[in-house]
Symmetry: C2
Subunit: 498 residues, 2 copies
C-alpha cells in the first residue's frame, strides 16, 4: 500500500468520524433550541450512541495501523506541511482516545445527558441538592478517567489537556495568581469611583428589536448567514455542524437590554473563527479551533475589546438610539458607555464585566482543583462557592441558581474548561495589541462600522490555520511571542478602570 | 451464550442502528426546516456517512451470527410473541440488506442529496431538464439495486417490497385497474354537477391564523406536543427521531386557505400512528409503522374521512368563521362544505380531492413502471407526464413545477413509494367502515370535537402493534378481512360524488 493510498484511507476514516461528530453536534443543538421536553431520554441514548460509534472508530485498530504505517514513512514530508501536521495530531489524539474505554465514553455521555436535565430542573427549583448526586456521578467518572492517564503531575493536567494541548495546572497557577492579585487591586480602586446612572436600562427594549439588532451586528462583523443561523437558548453557545454550518444562539435577559447583543457578539467571535478556517481542513481534525483558549480569545476580543469600545458605539449608538427611542431619550453617549463598562461585582459570570470576569473563573478553577484533589466534597460545593464569591467579589449569593448552578459546564462533564475563559481574555488583549501595532487604523475603521481590517487580520493570523498549530505557535505567528502573557490584559484594565 | 444473552445483544445492536437512523432523521428534518442553504453539500456527506455506518452494522457478521443463533433456538418461543416477531423481522431485513453493498448505499445517499437540491432549483427555474440528469443517475442506481435482487417477477417488486413487505406489481395492477375504471366513471358524472362558488377562498386568511388553527386541530386530535413539534417546509412531512420525538411540518399555500389545515391533519394522522406505537418497541425495528400503505391509511383517514366530513365542520366551522370573520361573512356551512369537497381535476397531487387523487397516483405508478421496464426514457418523462395528465384528468400542465417536478419522492430516490398513497386511501375506507360498525357513535363524537373514540379504536387495532404485524395481518385484526379491498373506498366515493 502506497503512502498516498494510506493517507487517502486515513482521510476517509477521519471524514466518517468527523461526520458522526457533526451529527452529534446537531442533536445537541436541536436539544437546546428545538426539541420538545419529552424527548430528552431518547435523545440521551442517541447522543451516547453517536459518541460511542465515533469513539470506537477513533480507537480502531484500522486507524492505529494506518497511523503506524504513515508515521514510519512520513520522514520525507515537510514537518510543517498540512499532511505531516495532520498525521501528528491524529497520532496524539489516537493515543489519548485509546486510553479511554468505549464503555466509559458511553456511561459518561449518558450521565451527562441526565445531569443536564437535572441541572435545568435544579435551576428551576433553585436547589443545588437536586443536582448534587448527578455532579457526584460525573466527578466519579472523572476520577475513573484520570486513572487511565496515570501518572500525571496534577489531576487537573489530563483534563486541561483536552481543552488546550499541553496546558498544565502549574502554568495556570502562575498566570492566575498574578491576575488574582492585580485584578483585585484594580477592582478595589475602581469601586471608589462614582457609579454611573443605570436607570435607562429599565426602559422599553422589546425582545424582537434586541434580536434584530444582534442580527445587524452579526452581519456587519461578517458572520456568514448562508452557512449558519442564530436561535435563542437558555445558555448562549456556538456549534459547528461541520465547517459549512456554524450556528450561534443568544439570550434575551430581562432588565439587561444589551445582554443579547454582547452574547451574540461573543458567539459571533467564535463563529468567525470557525467560518474562517480554511475549508481544505473540513472533515479532518485540523478543521477545528487550535484550543479552547484561542477560541475564547476570539469571542472575548469581539465582545470586550471591540463591542465595549467608544469606537464601536460611535457607529452603533445613533442607530440604537433610534431603535429604542423612548428608553434612550436624553441619554448621552458618555453615560451610555459608562453604563456598559461599569465594573461592579455581580453574581453571574456571563454578565460579568471585564474587570471581575477572571475572578469568577479563578473561583471555579480553585473549586475544581479542590474537588479533584479530594480536598472538597460535592455536598460542600455550594457553601464553598458562596464563601468564595464573598471573599473574591464581596458578593452574597442569593440562590443556587444565581450561584453554583449558573453554568452548564459541570453538568456537561466539562471539568478543566473554565480556565480557557480567563486565558482567552489574556490572549485577546495580546492579539489586540499586536493587531493595532500592525494596523493602527483598526479603531477608526471600527468607528466607521467596518470590521473587515480586524477580521482579516485575525483570519490570516489565526483562523485559516484551524488546528494545524498549537496556541503558542499561533501566538508566535500573530504576536511574535510564543506564550500567553497577562501584561497586555492588565495594562488594558488599568487604563480603563484604575 | 444463552438465548437470553444473545437476545439482549441483539437488542443492544438494534438500538445502536435505530439511534443512527434517528440521527439521520434529525439531519434530514433540519435540512428541510432549519438549515442555511450553504450547508447542503456537507449535509449530504453527513447523511451519507450515517446511512453507511448504519448499513454496515445492519449487514455485519456480528448481526448475522446473532440471528443464526437465535433462529436456531427460537422454536421454543410462541411464534406470535414480540421476541419471535422481532427475530423474524430482523432476519428478513438482514437478508435484504446483505444483498445491498455499502458502497451502493453511500453513492445512492449522496446522489439523493444532490438530486434533492437540484430538484429545488429545477422547481424554481420551472425546468425538468435541470433535474433530468439527476433523475437519470438515481434511476441507474435503481437498476443496479434491482440487479442485487434477481430473479423477480417484475422490476417493481423489489422496490415495492421496501415500502410494503410482500406487495407486488401484479396485486397493484388488479386493484388499480378497478380504481382507474370506476373512479374515472364517477368523475365523469361528478363533473356534470354545478360547480360550487369558491370566491370566498380569495378573502383574507393570514398565515399566522392558519398556523394557529392547525395547532388547535392537532391538539384536539391528540397530537402530543411534549413529544413533537410542527414547523413549515416546502413539502409537508412527518418524521420520527425515535418514538419519543415525532415531528410534523405543514405548508401555507397562497390562495388555498385550508391547505395548511389539511396538510397538518394529514401529517397529524401519520404522527398519531407513530406516537401510538407501544413504547416497548422503541429502538427496535418493531417501533415503526407496519408499512407505508398502512401509514398512509392513517393520514388519509384523518384528512379525508374525518376532516372533510360535515361532522368535523359542525364543530370547527363556527370557530373558523370567527377566525376569518371578513373572508367567511355570509358563507353558509353548506357552501363551505361543498367547496372543500369539490371534485375537480387539478394539476397538484397534494391538493387533489378524494375523487381524483388516486388517478394522480396511477399516473405516477404507470410512469414508474414504464421507466423500470425501460419502455420510457427519463428525457421523455415530462412529455409522458403531460400526456398522462391530459388523458386521465383532462388537464393541460402549465409548467414542469406544476407537473413532473411537483413531488419530492423521485428526488429522494423513492421509486415504489407512490402506490402506497392509493393503497392508503383504499385501506382508510376499510378501517373507517369497520370502526363505525363497532362504534356507530364516532361521527357524533367528531361533531362534538371529540376524536378520542376514533383515535383509541385506531390505536388499539393498529398503532400499538407497530411493525409487529404485516398490513394484511392488521387488516385481519381491525376489519376481519386480511386483504386490501377497494369496495369500501369506491362505495364512499359513489355516495359522495355520483
Amino acid at each position: 500500500m502506497s503512502f498516498e493510498n494510506d493517507l487517502e484511507k486515513l482521510k476517509t476514516l477521519l471524514g466518517t468520524i468527523s461526520d458522526l461528530h457533526a451529527a452529534a453536534a446537531l442533536l445537541d443543538w436541536d436539544m437546546r433550541t428545538c426539541m420538545a421536553p419529552g424527548s430528552i431520554e431518547s435523545r440521551a441514548f442517541q447522543l451516547a450512541t453517536l459518541e460511542e460509534v465515533a469513539h470506537a472508530k477513533s480507537v480502531s485498530s484500522e486507524l492505529g495501523h494506518l497511523i503506524d504505517r504513515l508515521d514510519a514513512r512520513s520522514a520525507s514530508l515537510d514537518p510543517d506541511s498540512d499532511d505531516a501536521r495532520l498525521i501528528g495530531k491524529v497520532r496524539r489524539e489516537f493515543e489519548r482516545e485509546r486510553r479511554t474505554p468505549s464503555s466509559w465514553v458511553r456511561r459518561n455521555a449518558e450521565a451527562c445527558s441526565r445531569a443536564n436535565t437535572a441541572w435545568e430542573c435544579a435551576r428551576e427549583e433553585q436547589s443545588f441538592r437536586r443536582f448534587a448526586p448527578h455532579l457526584q456521578e460525573l466527578l466519579e467518572l472523572k476520577f475513573e478517567y484520570l486513572s487511565f492517564f496515570e501518572p500525571y503531575a496534577h489531576p487537573c493536567d489530563p483534563l486541561l489537556d483536552r481543552f488546550d494541548e499541553g496546558a498544565t495546572c502549574a502554568d495556570l497557577d502562575r498566570v492566575f495568581s498574578r491576575l488574582k492579585k492585580e485584578q483585585t487591586a484594580i477592582l478595589r480602586s475602581a469601586l471608589k469611583k462614582t457609579k454611573p446612572d443605570l436607570s435607562f436600562f429599565d426602559g422599553r427594549y422589546p425582545a424582537s428589536k434586541q434580536i434584530a439588532l444582534t442580527e445587524q451586528v452579526l452581519s456587519r462583523m461578517g458572520y456568514d448567514w448562508k452557512h449558519g443561523r442564530q436561535d435563542r437558548s437558555v445558555h448562549p453557545f456556538t456549534t459547528s455542524i461541520g465547517l459549512y454550518d456554524v450556528r450561534v444562539t443568544t439570550k434575551v435577559f430581562p432588565g439587561k437590554p444589551f445582554s443579547a447583543l454582547f452574547s451574540s457578539v461573543h458567539e459571533g467571535g467564535h463563529a468567525l473563527y470557525e467560518q474562517g478556517i480554511d475549508k481544505k481542513y473540513a472533515r479532518t481534525p485540523l478543521g477545528d479551533g487550535a484550543s479552547f483558549s484561542m477560541h475564547e480569545s476570539q469571542s472575548r476580543l469581539w465582545e470586550n475589546l471591540v463591542a465595549r469600545s467608544p469606537e464601536f458605539w460611535e457607529f452603533w449608538y445613533p442607530r440604537v438610539r433610534k431603535l429604542y427611542a423612548s428608553a434612550l431619550e436624553g441619554v448621552s453617549m458618555e453615560r451610555f458607555l459608562a453604563a456598559l463598562n461599569l465594573a461592579e461585582p455581580s453574581p453571574i459570570r456571563v454578565e460579568a464585566d471585564e474587570l471581575t470576569y477572571n475572578l469568577h473563573i479563578i473561583l471555579r478553577y480553585e473549586l475544581e482543583k479542590a474537588l479533584l484533589e479530594r480536598r472538597l466534597k460535592v455536598a460542600d460545593l455550594a457553601d464553598a462557592w458562596n464563601c468564595g464569591m464573598k471573599e473574591l467579589l464581596g458578593i452574597e449569593v442569593r440562590s443556587d441558581t444565581e450561584g453554583v448552578l449558573q453554568d452548564v459546564h459541570w453538568a456537561m462533564g466539562e471539568f478543566g474548561y473554565f480556565p480557557s475563559y480567563a486565558m482567552g481574555n489574556v490572549i485577546s488583549a495580546q492579539l489586540w495589541e499586536a493587531a493595532l501595532k500592525e494596523n493602527p487604523e483598526i479603531p477608526q475603521e471600527i468607528a466607521a462600522g467596518n470590521y473587515a481590517p480586524l477580521r482579516e487580520w485575525l483570519r490570516t493570523r489565526i483562523h485559516v490555520y484551524g488546528a494545524k498549530y498549537s496556541t503558542s505557535e499561533l501566538l508566535k505567528i500573530a504576536t511574535g511571542k510564543a506564550c500567553a502573557d497577562p501584561a497586555p490584559y492588565l495594562r488594558m484594565l488599568k487604563r480603563k478602570y484604575a
